[in-house]
């Protein structure tokens, strides 16, 4: 069943689990395996946490999740309107983090890359970041 949704919410840590639940509930009718649902939940958690921790930091703002299912292909964009990323290639490196003092692992993008079928990062410095991911729900 083809479907779409967009979900916009306050960028606070308490909404990380809400975002995971909403995206999982959106995918469930397509009958993916639990492993696939978990890969998606984990990746959404990474992307949303990045918006809160890096995109907004001490500031507040909104996070937008736009998702679509088309012929079993799930695609999702996680968008913030925060700080942005200066050097995306560097940010994508395993263990690279700008937030060592908070014990970030630098593995968020690594997990998104590994758990999803595709990952794309676009960012405008000072204006925000869009992370686009796709995954086949019945691979």
């Amino acid at each position: 069943m083809d479907n779409y949704m967009s979900f916009r919410f306050k960028a606070i840590a308490a909404n990380e689990s809400l975002a995971r639940s909403v995206v999982a509930a959106f995918c469930v009718p397509s009958n993916p395996t639990l492993d696939i649902i978990n890969d998606i939940k984990t990746s959404i958690s990474e992307a949303v946490t990045n918006c809160i921790v890096h995109g907004y930091g001490k500031n507040t703002g909104d996070i937008m999740i736009e998702a679509e299912i088309k012929d079993d292909l799930f695609s999702v964009r996680v968008i913030d309107y925060g700080k942005g990323i200066l050097n995306i290639d560097e940010a994508l490196n395993d263990f690279y983090t700008t937030n060592e003092e908070d014990e970030r692992s630098g593995l968020g993008f690594t997990i998104m890359k590994t758990f999803m079928d595709s990952l794309e990062v676009e960012s405008v410095w000072g204006a925000g970041t869009t992370v686009t991911m796709t995954k086949n729900l019945n691979a």
């Binding site: 840590a13 308490a14 990380e16 689990s17 995971r20 639990l34 492993d35 978990n38 890969d39 939940k41 984990t42 958690s45 990474e46 946490t49 809160i52 921790v53 908070d102 014990e103 970030r104 692992s105 593995l107 968020g108 690594t110 997990i111 590994t114 758990f115």
Partner: protein, 101 residues
């Protein structure tokens, strides 16, 4: 996020329960460190049987405790992660320094 502890034969077991993400990390870290600072044990085990979800925030948290305890020569271990968490742990490469038992 609930955390319980038990000491048996000089081994400390830290039982993690619920979902470990960024929203609970600061308090969880403070709770664990507060406890670790007050005791002396031979090994520390993170028991994940009742942990239902963990993302890379958990990797950062475990690595942080690993570094603190390494300075005191106390090795740490992980036990009973579920499939989702095991996958996160494997991707992180953490098992090379923190074995699963």
């Amino acid at each position: 996020m609930v955390v319980k502890t038990k000491i048996k034969n000089n081994n400390l077991c830290i039982y993690l329960e619920g979902e470990l993400d960024h929203s609970v990390a600061t308090k969880l870290r403070a709770d664990i460190d507060d406890y670790l600072d007050r005791i002396n044990v031979r090994n520390v085990v993170f028991d994940m049987e009742k942990l239902s979800f963990m993302d890379s925030t958990g990797i950062g948290l475990i690595m942080g405790r690993y570094k603190k305890l390494k300075a005191r020569n106390i090795p740490i271990y992980i036990t009973k992660p579920n499939t989702q968490i095991d996958k996160v742990l494997r991707v992180s490469g953490i098992y090379k320094i923190i074995p699963q038992i």
